[in-house]
Symmetry: C2
Subunit: 248 residues, 2 copies
C-alpha cells in the first residue's frame, strides 16, 4: 500500500478540533472526519488518517501533517486537486507526498512550533480577527519578553497542564521561544519536542496576567517551579493559537 | 453640528457594496446601511453617512473613509467602542475623528489607492482566500510588470469602464502603479485621482489575459488607446480587490 503524507492548513473556528472523539455528543465536525470522508470518496475505501497530534477545538494550523495508507493509484498532483474539491474552503491541503511505508505522522515528529497572536488594541481586525485574541488593555511587552526566558530547556510543565486531562509524564523540552511585536500584534512562538494538553494556552494566559500587571515580575518562573496548575493564569482563548510547523 | 470622520475596515464578501441602492430588490445589506443603522441607535437621530466613494459588491476595504453630522455629545473614544459593538465582525471602525464642518469624504478626496491580489498557485489559501483571486495557471509576471507601465499618467480609460455604467468624463490620472510578487501572491497597487466603475477589475482582467499568454505583448497599451471596452479582457472577480487608502 502507498503511504501518503498530507500538509494541511485550516481555520479551526468551525471545528471541534482535529481529532475525532469517541463520544459523538457534538454536532460540529472535526478536521479529521471531514478529511477522511473526502478521502474515502476519492480512494474508494475507508481511510484512517493519522496526524502529528490533535489540535483543540477552535485552534488553527498553517501546516499540520497527517498520513494515510491507500491502494489508490491516483497521481500525487491529482490527489491534491481532488481532496481540495471535496472539503470546505476553511481547510486546504497544501502538499501531498508519497513517503516510506514506515513514516508515521505522530511517532516520527521531532518537534512542533506553535504561534499565539494577541491583538493589543481596543478595536478588532476584520481580516486577522479569527487568528488572534484581542486585548484592549495595554500590555507590558518588555516584561513579558523577559519573563518567558525561564521556559527554555527541559522542565516539568505540570503547572500549565489542563486540569482535566493530566498526563503522567509532564516533562517537555522547549527548543526555542520568542515574543515579538508587529504593529498592534504581540506574537509568541514556541518550539518543543511535545506539548501537554492546553499547555501553550495556559502559559499564554499566565503571561497575559503578567503583561496586565495582575501577576508580578518573576511569576512565570515561580509558577513553573510550583508545578501547581492552580497558581497559573486562565487558559487563553483557542482563536489566537496556530500550529505553524511539525519537524521530522 | 459636529462633523465626524470614520476610517472603516471591511470584508465585503457578504455585502452588496458600500453604497445603499435606490432599488431595494436585493436582500443582502450594504456597508452604508449597516453603519447608518448602528449610528442611528447611538446618536438617537437619523444619520446620513457620506463615503469617499462606493466600493462594488464583494470588494473589501482596509481604510474606507466616511463622515456624518450629528448632535450627539459622545466622546470620540466612546464612539468607536459603541459603533463596533453595534455592527457585525466583518466591519470594524478603526478611527473616529472630529473634523472641520466643511470636510466632505467624497469631494475632498485627492486620490485613492486600490490593491488587487492574485494567488498564483493551484491550491487555495485558507486565511488569505477571501482577499485574493486564485489562478492555478502560471502567469508571466515579468511581462505583466512591463505592460502596466503604459498606464501611468493622464489617460482616457473608456476601454476599462463598465459597459453598463458609462460616465461622460472617462479621463483619469494614475499617480502610481506597481506590481510585486510575495511568495505565491502577485500584488497590483494603483493610485489615481479617481476610478471609473469596475476600472481596476477590467484592467486586471486584461492583465491576467496577458499573463496567461492569451493576449500578446503590447495589448494593454493598444486596448487603452482604442477606448473600446470590447477589446479588453473580462472583469476580474471582486474578491481580489481592496480599497487601501484615501488621501485628502
Amino acid at each position: 500500500m502507498r503511504n501518503i503524507k498530507l500538509t494541511i492548513e485550516y481555520d479551526g473556528t468551525n471545528y471541534v478540533g482535529f481529532q475525532t472523539q469517541r463520544t459523538k455528543d457534538c454536532k460540529s465536525p472535526t478536521i479529521q472526519e471531514t478529511l477522511e470522508k473526502a478521502l474515502k470518496r476519492i480512494c474508494k475505501h475507508k481511510i484512517n488518517l493519522v496526524a502529528s497530534g490533535r489540535t483543540d477545538s477552535g485552534v488553527h494550523a498553517l501546516a499540520q501533517v497527517a498520513n494515510f495508507k491507500t491502494n489508490s493509484k491516483m497521481p500525487l498532483d491529482k490527489f491534491r486537486v481532488a481532496i481540495n474539491a471535496n472539503i470546505p474552503e476553511d481547510i486546504s491541503v497544501t502538499k501531498v507526498e508519497e513517503v516510506a511505508s514506515d513514516f508515521h505522522s505522530r511517532y516520527g515528529a521531532k518537534s512542533k512550533i506553535y504561534r499565539y497572536q494577541i491583538l493589543n488594541r481596543p478595536y478588532r481586525s476584520v481580516f486577522e480577527g479569527k487568528l488572534c485574541y484581542m486585548i484592549p488593555h495595554k500590555l507590558d511587552f518588555d516584561l513579558m519578553k523577559q519573563e518567558i526566558r525561564c521556559l527554555r530547556g527541559k522542565h516539568d510543565f505540570k503547572a500549565f497542564q489542563a486540569a482535566d486531562k493530566k498526563k503522567k509524564k509532564s516533562v517537555r523540552t522547549i527548543k526555542s521561544i520568542k515574543l515579538t511585536q508587529k504593529g498592534d500584534f504581540i506574537i509568541f512562538e514556541i518550539e518543543a519536542d511535545g506539548f501537554l494538553f492546553k499547555m501553550v494556552r495556559n502559559i499564554m494566559g499566565t503571561l497575559i496576567e503578567i503583561g496586565r500587571g495582575r501577576f508580578k515580575e518573576g511569576s512565570l518562573k515561580r509558577i513553573l517551579k510550583s508545578k501547581n496548575r492552580k497558581l497559573a493564569g486562565p487558559t487563553a482563548p483557542a482563536r489566537g493559537l496556530t500550529l505553524i510547523k511539525v519537524k521530522y
